[in-house]
Symmetry: C2
Subunit: 258 residues, 2 copies
Amino acid sequence: MKSPEEVRQLIRKGRMTGPTAGLAASYAQANLVVLQKDLAFDFLLFCQRNQKPCPVLDVTDAGSPVPAIAAPGADIRTDFPKYRIYRHGVLTEEVTDLTPYWKDDFVGFLIGCSFSFEQALINQHIPIRHIDEGVNVPMYKTNIDCVPAGPFSGKMVVSMRPIPERLAVRAAQVTSRFPAVHGAPVRIGNPKSIGISDLNQPDFGDAVTVQEGEVPVFWACGVTPQAVIMETKPDIVITHSPGHMLITDIRNESLAVL
Amino acid sequence: MKSPEEVRQLIRKGRMTGPTAGLAASYAQANLVVLQKDLAFDFLLFCQRNQKPCPVLDVTDAGSPVPAIAAPGADIRTDFPKYRIYRHGVLTEEVTDLTPYWKDDFVGFLIGCSFSFEQALINQHIPIRHIDEGVNVPMYKTNIDCVPAGPFSGKMVVSMRPIPERLAVRAAQVTSRFPAVHGAPVRIGNPKSIGISDLNQPDFGDAVTVQEGEVPVFWACGVTPQAVIMETKPDIVITHSPGHMLITDIRNESLAVL
């Protein structure tokens, strides 16, 4: 198993460009949002007010590409395999190196990701359907309002994993230990109660099979902050490309509150 | 038992001016830090990076005195019994009403307080010595560095409660449920290992008796952010007066992550 630093070096040198799922599996992976400094306070406040969908692992100092807490040896301009650049809410470029685009007033937010709690579920022998089926996790817009902050407001996006009924409470327990990476589910069962009309039609990702005797379990999803930011159409926002995350030096288990 | 709103009304009308310990005991009380907007991002970032000593319960929008999440009916200018105003790091006024001092660029931070987890300890029949002795909790500067953010940096301040040895693990478990109000202890036992040379000489608050068969247990303390801010000597900072908190509408138990 390669260390986080070794994987980041390969990514930095362009020798690894694919999705990061399963790499350095004991370590937390992070989503990325880069904003100009003038939006940083309101966005950090949005995250503070909506910690389940927006669990912040680290925030870089304005202009610095170094996530000093999550991975002091990393550079957020080069250590994600792929980035998306949005101007006025429109995707304009997908690139593998942010260096030419970097500005002195950029602030990078590293946001916790569900890979961390999925590892905890796997450790408990709780199956993860989208992994078993080799697709992306299904994600849905809900009718749950986020708490607004400045220009940022919108509905929560959730991810769904079908869990055998006898294991659903255990899944809630296991993920409750990890509030820094989405934490406990927001709902077990009945999709309609949170405004999801058809599990087979996710808003993002892919549909998965829900088997007889399984219940859909919904967790707050890190797509929420990206969706909320895009609605405000800022001059520029940079995110990681879906599935192409940063491997941090933070062990998943160290994120557990108990 | 009066409701939070009833207590706040009495305080707002000036009919209650003392410390708030024990009032509306099921509800979380909050510390206050008011800063000018230009310092708000760095301070929020400091809190995000140091959640154990700086657990944020709510942040008001610039210029608004309403803590919309923690207590939508409250006014942070009037609903604390007493305030301290510091100019360039020096205490210049202690007042019971902030209204005449309020500015359009003020941002208020409500920070969780140990009363919440003390209630959880009491519910487990774990004794709280400073309550039994009728004094303030003893607090100590440690040698533990906070993670800096912008101009804010410094050492962590901890509070200490002597706990019978057989209950120390239980005290750690009980408070682990409450990361939003300082959470698990930072240390059990040996004060010297965190730079405290004499338990009888606290840096803030009062010394308490540590009995035979008890171990000192140290929790991160909300005095930390105040101490760190004062070192930067900003033009103006406003805090609550020690022990004179805001009663929020948040039930202590709702702050538990499990």
